[in-house]
């Protein structure tokens, strides 16, 4: 509403000038107010009048508003600023190949293993057809794999998984197939649990450093926050109750509601195996605070050190604690090297969580034909025992070589006993002992040494200079190549 000053010139005289301008202004003001009140409410500014013909609307030059996506969709499509994803993308543009592209970028940023493919391949070539097309009379019957089956997974698969998990977790814990739901990979498993255990705006405590993928898995759609619980090299990055306590109190002060603790064991990216004592401490803490515990045990079968792996399921089943707050995630992407198959597990001691998760599986279930292959694979006990033994041995051998190579360069690694990677202390190569220095080193490693390793910043590590290096997709001859590149880079810093 504009204040116009009309008629000033009309009124002569000193007081008259003032009054002469004020009165018309007031009148005008009230006129505009009156007219505004009489005007009909404004329509949706994006809505066009119905008189527009179709041809008008669809022809160029008309100002039709651009349709928008939801506000929760907006951050999803943005290019990621996390070095974890940047590194993975960069490798795709110039991937190392020991025959055809020896100058390419060597991938150390993806936790996958190809060490036992030969064994898997042989099994598949011998058993695939049979396992897929199982039918009573031996004839190919597509209806057995084509039709709808319960989304939570065939009972035979859950039984096979229960047995497999028990085997690889030391045989001291048994899993009940009716507490289990099969998912299309570990990614939906963690998301479904987040949907079931926490409301939008609630939070999980998560020890750092942690797997960068959790940010997407948990935050994309559930609206659940992740609150870091910082761990230090002095504890070999093992979470302590005092750190959990502190993080929880700070969260409460901020008004954040904590629904649970999420951690991985073996841990990613450090590769720690949590001790029985630590697991008990975590569960005791959770019980005291009445929150959930989610244990991501996806690397449970990739344990190569001397430390014994203990599943949270074992602690939960001991009778000492209320087990309904314990939930476990597992999958075949790491231990069995078949991420493409998409097979994961939610295991929960809480009946209502299992029931809700079952119903949510319609959004992320495993195709029946893949389930049949997996039933066959996981129930082939002789093969599985042989495979897991070879898998562990080959990781161990590769780990020794890799760590030794780094040691020769004066670069130490954290103590680790599981996973497909090691946690490397490159702080001696930093120009400044800071996040900035670490990111500069990450960039140099990527562009000069042409190695993609995941910097600790991407994993929310509170101490600069740490990098996760995955070594289970490397051939032995790749290792000296890597070490030489790092050596040359280090040299270039000194000069």
């Amino acid at each position: 509403m504009r204040l116009i000053v009309p008629l000033r010139g009309v009124i002569q005289g000193r007081g008259g000038l003032f009054v002469g301008s004020l009165i018309p202004c007031c009148l005008f003001y009230f006129l505009q107010l009156y007219l505004k009140r009489r005007r009909p409410p404004p329509s949706d500014p994006t809505e066009l009048p119905r008189t527009f013909s179709r041809t008008n609307l669809f022809s160029r030059g008309n100002s039709i508003g651009r349709v928008r996506v939801s506000s929760r969709a907006v951050p999803v499509a943005k290019p990621s600023d996390s070095p974890y994803y940047i590194g993975l993308e960069r490798v795709k543009t110039d991937p190392y190949d020991r025959m055809t592209n020896t100058d390419g970028i060597i991938q150390l940023g993806l936790a996958e293993s190809t060490l036992c493919f030969d064994l898997l391949q042989r099994w598949m070539s011998e058993n695939l057809m049979e396992s897929m097309m199982q039918s009573d009379d031996g004839e190919f019957d597509i209806s057995s794999i084509a039709m709808y089956k319960p989304f939570e997974g065939l009972l035979e698969l859950r039984v096979a998984f229960a047995d497999f998990m028990s085997r690889i977790m030391g045989g001291n814990v048994s899993f009940d197939p009716s507490n289990m739901v099969i998912t299309a990979g570990g990614t939906p498993a963690i998301e479904v649990l987040a949907f079931c255990l926490a409301d939008h705006g609630n939070a999980f405590l998560i020890p750092t450093p942690y797997y960068p993928g959790f940010d997407r898995d948990i935050k994309f759609r559930t609206g659940v926050e992740l609150i870091p619980v910082h761990c230090r090299s002095s504890d070999n990055f093992t979470v302590t109750v005092s750190a959990l306590e502190q993080a929880l109190n700070q969260a409460r002060k901020r008004g954040s509601k904590v629904s649970g603790i999420l951690f991985s064991n073996p841990s990613n990216p450090v590769g720690n195996i949590l001790s029985r004592e630590t697991l008990c401490d975590i569960l005791r803490f959770a019980q005291e605070k009445n929150i959930h515990v989610i244990s991501d045990e996806i690397f449970a079968g990739s344990v190569y050190g001397d430390k014994e792996f203990v599943s949270m399921a074992e602690i939960a089943g001991s009778g000492e604690f209320d087990k309904t707050r314990v939930h476990i995630i597992y999958g075949l992407s790491k231990d069995l090297s078949i991420p493409g198959f998409r097979a994961g597990v939610i295991y929960s001691f809480h009946e209502d969580v299992v029931n809700a998760a079952k119903k949510l599986m319609r959004f992320s279930s495993v195709p029946v034909l893949v389930q049949r292959i997996l039933i066959s694979l996981l129930s082939d006990v002789r093969f599985i025992e042989g495979y897991m033994a070879a898998h562990r041995q080959r990781i161990r051998d590769k780990h020794i070589r890799f760590v030794e190579g780094l040691k020769q360069l004066g670069i130490p690694c954290a103590e680790s006993g599981g996973g497909l990677y090691c946690w490397v202390d490159m702080s001696s190569l930093l120009t400044s002992y800071s996040e900035k220095g670490e990111l500069e080193l990450f960039e140099k490693l990527l562009t000069v040494a042409k190695i993609n390793a995941t910097p600790g910043t991407a994993c929310y590590c509170i101490e600069p200079g740490w990098f996760r290096c995955c070594f289970t997709a490397l051939a032995d001859e790749d290792i000296p190549v890597i070490m030489e590149r790092i050596r040359q880079l280090a040299e270039s810093f000194r000069s």
């Binding site: 039709i64 999803v76 019957d141 629904s259 493409g340 119903k359 949510l360 195709p367």
Partner: protein, 447 residues
């Protein structure tokens, strides 16, 4: 949050709390739509072993063309097609491949298949195809992307009961119905659209889009071209999205009777019009492969494609499935034959059931697609109310041992309509079902 609410959300004498999503009943599995399934599970019909059991006519599954698939897969050496033509190295790629872009060859195959179904009247760009583990996941994913919690999608009634769960449960989005009735064969009118939009506005709910199923479930009929044009017009004027779930597009009895929204968009250059249109498809109905979990979002909006791709990490299609189906779907000779024969067989089934019902004195909506017919039993209702309809449904379940879906579970505003599936059984079983209906109607006439 007060104590009573907390106690409601933690049950079984333990006291750790669950989320609203976990305890909500938006999954809808307590409705009659699903209750009938339970009755079937407990006493399933079997030709030899249980001839008096419940015949499942509530599940829209297509089993009429399995033989065509079997012959194809046997002939083409399934093992070869499993790993692609490369044999052993193929396994390595398969096992490791978890890229949310999906296999290029598979996307090309899907695009080609979708084009064939539409008789080449629209082109599909493989790079706009986002793969999901089933159409259920595709619809949910699109809803996450197009609408925020408490926003709404307008959906014409009657609609697929699963939408209540798929579009609302985790997303927090509402459905506002666009009421359709038999006076014009349940087609969507501009008045009904406007009315639904206004209803939402009056309740202070922001409408983000319209979601239709074309051909319609449960009507079993295609949406007319003019209606599609009106719909797009409406969405442009309101500046909202248009989602067309075309999961039954390959099950239209006469190809010429189907107009896809893709055809309408094909002739439009204006990006601001095109980019509000998204299509959902799946292999579960047309190919009869729900167990494979293959769905897709096809969007004309670059941002939606990018976003959907990233979100599809939660619902990836197994690399196994992609390899296996890529060669089959790009075999144009096979797909042309399959589509043609499948349509023909569904049409014959439809004719059988509609004729059979007519002889029993029961009329159906004139349909031309899908795996079901929309039957009018309004004249049998004692009380012309939802309760009356459910009573009749219960009688049909308990006395005739037929599980059919009541219109109220599809939010139909007229009582007395029922959806009856016919493609998930043998011809014999269909005859038995019709016989039971005849006998029932005879008995009623005698009273």
């Amino acid at each position: 949050m007060g104590l009573p609410l907390m106690m409601e959300r933690s049950s079984n004498n333990n006291n750790v709390e669950l989320s609203r999503v976990a305890v909500s009943d938006t999954h809808g599995e307590d409705s009659p739509y699903f209750a009938g399934w339970k009755a079937y599970d407990e006493n399933p019909y079997d030709e030899s072993h249980n001839p008096s059991g419940v015949i499942q006519m509530g599940l829209a599954e297509n089993q009429v063309s399995f033989d065509l698939l079997e012959t194809y897969l046997e002939k083409k050496n399934p093992e070869g097609s499993m790993w692609g033509s490369k044999g052993a190295p193929g396994f390595r790629e398969n096992a490791l491949f978890q890229d949310y872009h999906g296999l290029k060859t598979f996307r090309q195959a899907m695009a080609s298949f979708m084009e064939q179904i539409r008789g080449g009247k629209a082109r599909f760009d493989p790079d706009r195809i986002v793969l999901t583990a089933g159409a259920t996941a595709a619809n949910e994913l699109l809803t996450f992307i197009l609408a925020d919690p408490n926003d709404a999608l307008l959906v014409p009634t009657p609609y697929y009961p699963g939408f209540d769960r798929d579009l609302r449960w985790r997303t927090g989005v509402k459905i506002v119905p666009i009421h359709c009735d038999s006076s014009n064969h349940f087609q969507i009118t501009p008045e009904a659209l406007e009315s639904a939009y206004q209803t939402a506005r009056d309740a202070n709910i922001r409408v983000r889009g319209v979601l239709i199923t074309n051909p319609s479930n449960p009507l079993g009929a295609t949406v007319q071209k003019k209606v599609l044009e009106d719909l797009l017009d409406f969405c442009v004027r309101k500046n909202i999205h248009l989602v067309s779930d075309e999961i039954y597009s390959g099950s239209v009895f006469h190809a010429s009777e189907f107009t896809s929204v893709a055809e309408i968009v094909e002739n439009i250059d204006d990006v601001s019009v095109k980019e509000r249109v998204h299509i959902v498809y799946s292999l579960s109905k047309d190919l009869g492969l729900p167990g494979f979990r293959v769905g897709t979002i096809y969007s004309y909006n670059d941002n939606v494609v990018r976003t959907a791709r990233r979100m599809s990490s939660f619902t990836l299609v197994s690399s196994q499935t992609q390899h296996m189906l890529a060669s089959m779907l790009s075999d144009e000779e096979f797909t042309e034959k399959y589509i043609r024969i499948n349509r023909e067989r569904l049409r014959r089934r439809y004719d059988t059931i509609v004729e059979g019902l007519k002889k029993a004195g029961i009329e159906c909506l004139k349909g031309n697609a899908g795996l079901f017919c929309w039957m009018n039993l309004g004249f049998l209702l004692e009380k012309k109310t939802k309760d009356g309809e459910l009573q009749l449904w219960d009688v049909i379940l308990k006395e005739l041992k037929l599980n059919i879906s009541p219109g109220s579970s599809c939010h139909c505003s007229e009582v007395g309509w029922f959806r009856v599936c016919f493609a998930n059984m043998s011809e014999n079983t269909l005859e038995i079902a019709l016989k039971r209906i005849h006998e029932f109607m005879d008995r009623r006439r005698r009273f």
